[in-house]
Amino acid sequence: MRHFERQPDGALRAELDAEEAVLLQSLAGQVSELVADAALRRAQGASEDAAVARLLPDAYPDDSEASAEFRRFTESGLAERKVANAEVVIRSLAGAGVTGSVTLDEAEALSWLRCLTDIRLTIASRFGIETEDDEAGRSIDPLMREIYDWLGFVQNSLIEALDDVVARG
């Protein structure tokens, strides 16, 4: 994948391989399922997954009753918005295997940034990446750590492209 670049029409475009597009779609889909099923699994009495606990955290760490009430009013909306962000990522990559590129408008780019954050938080919580240490989690799963770094690159390049308003001129 090359970094995102602001196009003359304001769109954000990056070149990427078909394999990268499939990987990103798969990760977005998995995070989407994770948050979509969270309430159901909790209702069934399943123990809380570390990634879910990070994506949909307790609002009151010291007060389980208040946390449950906060969840009752906010969790389905939060989960729906995370699922919607993932769907934007998956949909925008639909033609990437053929064109070798992905083009986003600003609204799609913001969904991408939020979804990339959710994916990275999920990987980090599963592999114990809690600091800026470049080696954290690498011994557990070197490939996943590579993917985590790559997602950070994609996210950073998208932020820089969004910041680049000069190219719109």
């Binding site: 990070r54 955290p57 609002a59 760490p61 906010t74 909306g77």
Partner: protein, 41 residues
């Protein structure tokens, strides 16, 4: 933000429960680990 970086957490806002819960929900949208603590009256 520096306090978050150095200490892992920081108080970013205080106010009524309803108002703060709205902020926390918005921050959860961005993947931020926002929590609430009741202040002593």
């Amino acid at each position: 933000m520096l306090q978050v970086h150095l200490e892992g957490k920081s108080v970013v806002a205080t106010g009524s429960r309803e108002e703060m819960e709205r902020h926390v929900e918005a921050m959860h949208d961005y993947g931020l680990w926002a929590t609430l603590t009741k202040a002593d009256a």
